[in-house]
Point group: C2
Chain length 300, copies 2
């Protein structure tokens, strides 16, 4: 098995080629919208959600083309959420990954439409999976629930309303479970639906445990890096979250407490993978373990 | 058979009860988002898209619960598009149907999120249809294609870019086919997928012809009313479109030419229904005919 970084790079490049082909070309009507949509998706990020779907697919010997459609759908939703998040009425960001944000490059109206079109395109993409129709319906259900009011959008709404309040640990955890956790959970579960048949209740249960733990660990590490990357690497005395008086796992648990909590979530994820391995899937969860390790060890 | 107005009113009231039940309650987290989502959907409009789906369902003896889910999904997409359309970066409207627009009442960020959540909810709603899974997948495909870059969002983008240009009749027609026509077509076709089995190619073909003609007639009548309602009823010399130098079917064809074109589209719709009646569905298309008549005769 190749090392994690080589695999992740290869998968991200493969994803990029799939997206290049799947997205409507810039020279086709509505050309400006298509251009904005491609700009929002292509050449971006680590593709964490696709990586999770591909890795989960290993367990069920998933159909590789179906996984590609799932990866595209996940990243369309993630990309649209970033485009809308960057707009003036939300975070009002000018740059993302060193490029102008979509609305700064194409205007706010086109930015909003590009996001809206991407969300529709995500669900269309799922209908292109050559899988038993029951599994496609399950995929639509998982993704729409994760993206909507009970998931990502709902988490953003809770976040909006919690500005200048002091949420407790339970509320903070719930907010993150919805805002980023729901889509990370959907990514891991959707990979399981790309096999020859519906996944077992055991697989769904353990993968839910794995992905919820990984999603939370991801957010805790984010909060830790906001403090440590500033103080230790950049030499600043405090991070952006603290300056913004934003509640984080570090502000609620302290730096050591947050680190301990992240390690505990990592341990939960590993136990879930061990249970899957023992249930007849020996050697099938290595990439998922590597993703969990990567999330713990990342430094930016 | 009850008269059209009584039927349309009964269906709209039935839809309202379905939406009341289906939408997440305001007292459940994320409560402010749920409140905005309910505000955007409830107590609004003539529900033309649900009416088309219900009427099309008559042809195939559709499952009534499945039709309700389809009607909800259609109206969630339509409602979200109105919420986003009303925002400052688009039309910047303060009132809609005598109420404050969603973003004016809940703020721009919450308005955008409510629209985003509604789009996700539309696809979730389709997964709740107790129909053969192949038909549910077809419903997701129809709705996502109609809502996205090749349909509604694409039409809005073409409209945005055509400001201060002089589109010819072909471009104007294409823009409307995408912007409003795609969702009207989807509404009529989706009703056909709520039966016991996949609709025949004949039904799909004739219903496509019917719905495209009805969608175009709807827009032409809109353009005619903008002129005649002003000059004849309100006593103004010219309508808003002309004042805005906005290309319309009236500006391109003249008032009489536009009326003739609307009559021709109505005739196309009626021929499609006649073909369906003759193919073994005698007496099943009356509501669809009434909808076409209603669209021709409306005065506001």
């Amino acid at each position: 098995m190749t090392d994690f970084n080589a695999w992740a790079r290869e998968r991200a490049e493969h994803f990029e080629r799939c997206a290049e082909r799947a997205l409507p070309p810039e020279n086709r009507l509505p050309w400006k919208l298509n251009e904005a949509v491609r700009y929002a998706v292509l050449d971006g990020g680590k593709r964490v959600r696709p990586l999770l779907a591909y890795a989960a697919g290993d367990i069920v010997q998933a159909q590789s083309e179906a996984l590609d459609h799932i990866a595209l759908a996940l990243e369309y939703i993630h990309s649209y959420s970033l485009v809308h998040d960057d707009m003036p009425c939300m975070d009002n960001d000018t740059l993302r990954r060193g490029k102008l944000t979509t609305h700064r490059k194409y205007g706010e109206a086109m930015g909003m439409l590009a996001g809206d079109a991407l969300q529709a395109q995500a669900f269309f993409e799922l209908t292109q999976c050559k899988l038993p129709a029951e599994q496609v319906v399950s995929l639509v259900k998982l993704l729409s629930a994760a993206a909507g009011a009970a998931g990502m959008c709902g988490g953003q709404a809770v976040d909006l309303l919690s500005v200048h309040t002091k949420p407790d640990l339970e509320t903070l955890t719930l907010m993150h479970r919805m805002k980023t956790g729901a889509m990370i959970r959907a990514a891991a579960l959707m990979g399981l639906y790309a096999g020859q048949q519906m996944p077992s209740a055991m697989l769904i249960g353990q993968m839910t445990a794995y992905s919820q733990a990984v999603g939370l660990a991801f957010q805790i590490i984010d909060d830790i890096l906001d403090v440590t990357a500033d103080t230790e690497v950049l030499g600043k005395t405090a991070g952006k979250d603290e300056a913004d008086d934003k509640p984080t796992f570090v502000s609620l648990l302290g730096l050591e407490g947050a680190r301990a909590r992240a390690r505990a979530e990592h341990e939960v994820a590993m136990q879930a993978l061990a249970a899957i391995e023992e249930a007849g899937f020996a050697g099938k969860t290595e990439r998922l373990a590597q993703i969990a390790d990567f999330i713990m060890s990342r430094d930016h």
